[in-house]
Amino acid sequence: MGMAAEAQFHVLAVDDSLIDRKLIERLLKNSSYQVTAVDSGSKALEFLGLREDDQTNPSPPSVPSNHHEMQVNLIITDYCMPGMTGYDLLKKIKESSSLKDIPVVIMSSENVPSRINRCLEEGAEEFLLKPVQLSDVNRLRPHLLKGKLREQKLQQQQQQLSPPPPQLPQQQQLQPLQQPQQPNNKRKSIEEGLSPERTRPRYSGLAVV
């Protein structure tokens, strides 16, 4: 308890069913993840800071934008939702330059192979059958770690672009995953999106200890 080096994962859960939101929230919190649960795809996009359409929305968003808070490390969404389906949401996320690298997992109560294939082809990491169980949540961990690794790499790249302030500890090129530099996760300068010059994540310089 109180280990400052403990990595905090933030999951955004999307489901129109209140019971399933409660369930997924509990499952994720049980695994020590931080959870934000919303009841629709459009609210999810709002939270992620992406407008559903390109028009400016004069009314204040019903969900506070996540822009300056912790990054979302994984999105888990129901497939069957009124309005924007989970598949629609997945597509919008993968089409967005700022969000496409966030791993997305789809949940569905129905085992339809064509549906599963469609989602995986569109870039979903996993397809879980409802009701989701603890063993399913364990399968999410590698995707969360991958996302976190990418985020750390991005932080390193951004710090190399601007000289670090003197009070920061000297950053090593290779960092063991278990000890992320905790203050950096909360730094304002960590953009919510990726820098435009960034093309593909480069892992060749990173060795996992």
Binding site: L27, K29, C80, P131, Q133, L134
Partner: protein
């Protein structure tokens, strides 16, 4: 002496649960709910089941209203309600309720109004039985918690 009360109540609870599993009223998803309950979320099962009761009763009312309307024809709407009911009952482990929903949905897909009405009655019956048994379960749990608390009175 009071300790025996808590133990006996726990045995009662387990017996009731075993019966419900044996009857197929509940399945292992209900156990998952119980596993998720801990000190940080001590009333989790009760909270989720309460939401289920509220939602289910609304759904049952809607279904009844739709089907009893003389001019009823909206089978699609029935399907939407049933999908929601199927999802929630599956999420809490209410196996028999879910199975009736499946049969109900089949009847609605065939535009079979008589079949739908029969399924609705069966669904209401199964739901009532489940609700009564879960209430019983919560009551025993509450008594057991109280008995256990009296056993270890808080010392000043």
């Amino acid at each position: 002496m009071l300790g025996l009360g808590a133990d006996r109540l726990r045995a009662d609870m387990n017996r009731l649960l075993a019966l419900l599993f044996h009857q197929g009223v509940l399945d292992e998803q209900f156990l998952q709910l119980q596993q998720l309950q801990d000190e940080t979320s001590p009333n989790f099962v009760y909270e989720v089941v309460t939401i289920f009761f509220n939602e289910s009763e609304k759904l049952l009312r809607n279904l009844r209203e739709l089907l009893l309307d003389k001019e009823f024809s909206d089978y699609k709407k029935i399907g939407i309600h049933l999908n929601q009911f199927m999802g929630s009952s599956s999420s809490i482990g209410a196996k028999r309720v879910r199975n009736v929903c499946v049969a109900f949905r089949a009847a609605s897909e065939q535009n079979n109004r008589a079949g739908c009405l029969r399924a609705l009655e069966l669904l209401e019956h199964e739901y009532c039985y489940l609700k009564n048994k879960l209430h019983e379960l919560f009551q025993i749990e509450q008594q057991r918690a109280m008995a256990a608390a009296v056993r270890y009175p808080i010392q000043d």
